[in-house]
Point group: C2
Chain length 292, copies 2
């Protein structure tokens, strides 16, 4: 059994305050016994992708760099594995949306660069982030092989499957998703339902636990053009049959969601529902096409 925590947070424009808040919540999660702690997407800042401004590239940082040092020291002190989500500056004019896994000794265990980059009104990520070039590789840690993916990746069964085939023990999705406040309640419900369904389905298809963490609260468009985003929280931990083990009690508030994950479930579930046995890889070739 692995006790894991996902941390659902508000963020502000104050980077130091965000990092201090993360540190505080990590400490509380560790005090509850969590050995794996996951932060939400781009947790050091507001979700700046609501508009396109060259100034926001100032928020990027190198890996290793300030955040890996800061959070590495925390991981080492508390003896926990951390999943960070950073705005990576790789070179001038070359930036990624990158998750970094910190081992319990404070070292960098590995990183994942977001492979699927969204771009739609209020989520202008293609301006900021070059699509990842590290592929879908689980990151080995003392608590298992972590299939870390990021936000928009969650809509792609291919990403989850590739992580599973590469031996991931669980799937982890740091996320920043929310509603356009102008949408109807019905549309909001459909979007939230779709978001839960697709992530739970990756658990089902691959018999893997899934951890998903989303930020909360309203963030205005700093450019004053859009109507802002109401980030919908709803962070959760699910078991290998897609059953929700724990979820945020109040979807507008910060929360530390902890759950005991039984890593032996994957083997047991794959015995009763052996999906991997029957994949028709002889007929899947067209998946590599854009359109058939």
């Amino acid at each position: 059994m692995l006790k894991a925590a996902v941390i659902q947070q508000h963020f502000t424009a104050d980077r130091a305050a965000n990092m201090a808040s993360c540190a505080d919540l990590i400490g509380r999660a560790a005090a509850e016994g969590a050995k794996l702690i996951v932060l939400s997407e781009l947790h050091n800042s507001l979700y700046f992708c609501q508009s396109e401004s060259v100034d926001f590239f100032d928020l990027a940082e190198t890996i290793p760099g300030e955040s890996t040092e800061f959070f590495g020291a925390i991981a080492k002190r508390l003896g926990v594995v951390l999943v960070l989500s950073l705005f990576e500056r790789r070179a001038a004019g070359l930036y990624h949306n990158t998750a970094v896994v910190i081992e319990a000794d404070g070292a960098i265990a590995g990183k994942y660069r977001k492979m699927h980059i969204p771009d739609d009104p209020a989520f202008y990520e293609k301006f900021y982030f070059t699509q990842g070039d590290l592929g879908f590789a689980p990151i080995a840690t003392s608590v298992g092989k972590l299939g870390v993916l990021i936000c928009w990746d969650q809509w792609y069964p291919e990403a989850a499957r590739l992580m599973a085939l590469a031996g991931a023990d669980m799937l982890i999705y740091p996320t920043a998703i929310g509603w356009d406040p102008r949408d109807t309640d019905e549309e909001k419900a459909r979007q939230l339902g779709a978001w839960r369904t697709i992530q739970l389905s990756h658990a089902v298809a691959n018999a893997l636990p899934v951890l998903s963490v989303n930020r909360v609260g309203f963030e205005a468009d700093s450019a004053g053009v859009g109507s802002g985003i109401l980030f919908w929280g709803n962070s959760f931990v699910a078991g290998a049959q897609g059953e929700v083990l724990a979820s945020a009690p109040i979807h507008t508030d910060e929360a530390i969601i902890t759950a005991e994950i039984d890593l032996s479930c994957t083997d047991r579930i794959r015995r009763i529902w052996p999906f991997l046995r029957d994949r028709r890889i002889d007929f899947y070739g067209d998946i590599l096409k854009r359109w058939i």
Copy 2:
């Protein structure tokens, strides 16, 4: 808008009675205005795959054959498109689990041979069915291009994706799935939840409506070895965001479930959530491997 119906049924060992019951329910669905009517998996018989007996090959039939003639006449008389699920005898020693789509003029529009064949206690399908060799090809009809898949296929995101990439307007799953009566209520709930989640996720991932129809009722193992299967019904029609439009009101009873499907939703949803745009086909190659 397309009015569609899925027909959730009990079956018996009496083939003629099953076919007559199908005909009756199809007539009632058509009277309610349905233009597309889907029957459940292997609707002419009990679910004989609970045991392995060479005698059950007597249940198989050719395509075209008795059933396509019988149901073709009904489709023509009522002016409806039908999705049948038959035990196909292709040659001596060569059988398939095959869905046949009948056009509203009574002609065979196309067929799909189940590609993923299960085999686990009480579901010994690998004994009876050769895996399909027609690939994942939607069937063109007067009510749209039907992405017909069958039961075990529902666990495979690859199958749904391939149908979507090949231009399917909706996904259709005739199914025969149920509980081992010895399982706990908690395990039953997890299995049913997983089954709903994975199918709704295909709607979400591909922005396509999904129609799923399952048989109901307890069927004993005719060999007297197993403890039988309690088929769980729960047939449903979902929209292109994975929202349930209609589902069986009582999960142990026969039911005609109808829903108005808005086929323009796919275009609208794919504009706001353009998943197909961002697929990383340059990094999906390992999906064609059994294990990485």
